[in-house]
Symmetry: C2
């Protein structure tokens, strides 16, 4: 379904979505039209989901990242549904995964600093029903952070 050119194109667009079709055509050795058609197809097929701006978190005082492990009190379908719906609404929670192991969910939380994290925990996260326990892991350094999946 995706040939080598498509894969290269995807990596390029995941690296820099502002590249013009002309620049891409030079890199890939294709015509502008061919690049245009391929991108259209990748967008139509849903392979490219969307285009976004990435913000430098340190520049907007959002440099405090925390991973929070959560156990639910019970694992009924309703408890899961309610928890997932409410946690999704929290803007501080950038990512939430249902996982297997010692706990049920991993949340990636981004806030200003430790004080705002404390506020977030008390006034937002732990007000969600059915949470059994939480465990916070604080990041002290970002070694790598990319959105590029190489296919």
């Amino acid at each position: 379904m995706l040939d080598t050119t498509d894969k290269k194109l995807l990596t390029l667009l995941q690296t820099d979505a502002k590249k013009t079709n002309k620049e891409l055509s030079n890199i890939l050795g294709l015509s502008v039209t061919a690049v245009y058609e391929r991108i259209r197809k990748l967008e139509r097929n849903g392979v490219i989901d969307r285009y976004v701006a990435l913000v430098n978190r340190d520049k907007v005082r959002k440099g405090f990242s925390v991973f929070c492990h959560i156990k639910l009190a019970q694992h009924s379908r309703d408890y899961i549904r309610v928890f997932e719906a409410k946690v999704t609404k929290l803007k501080e929670v950038l990512e939430c995964y249902h996982v297997s192991g010692d706990y049920d969910y991993i949340l990636k939380i981004v806030v200003d600093d430790m004080d705002t994290y404390r506020e977030f925990m008390i006034n937002k996260l732990t007000t969600i029903e059915h949470i059994g326990s939480t465990h916070s892991v604080f990041t002290i350094g970002e070694v790598k952070n990319t959105t590029i999946v190489e296919v």
Copy 2:
């Protein structure tokens, strides 16, 4: 440094970077040029780091996400430097954070499936020197995944 308009603009661009300045100007109640100038400034100041295409991982068979906790064998400066340099090079590792707690690093790894994860662990990750131990947490569902930080 950032006024309310800038913040709205950042949220809009983090949601959809393909919006034209004209569309943005309508939403924000500004002229096209004012929007242009504000975006230029956000880019120059480094608040906007870059623009990227986001790929639907399920469409490219990269739906298998794993969090891997890593302890180093020792915590000398050289060990840390070597580990971080090598782990950054691995394309399967999308994110790597230095953390405080029971382990030293959290890695977010995205691969095809369990088989490729096994291959990755054997042939790539665990060939890095100075790793003391690893612990993998497998995701069984993605509840939320956004890149938007609301400032």
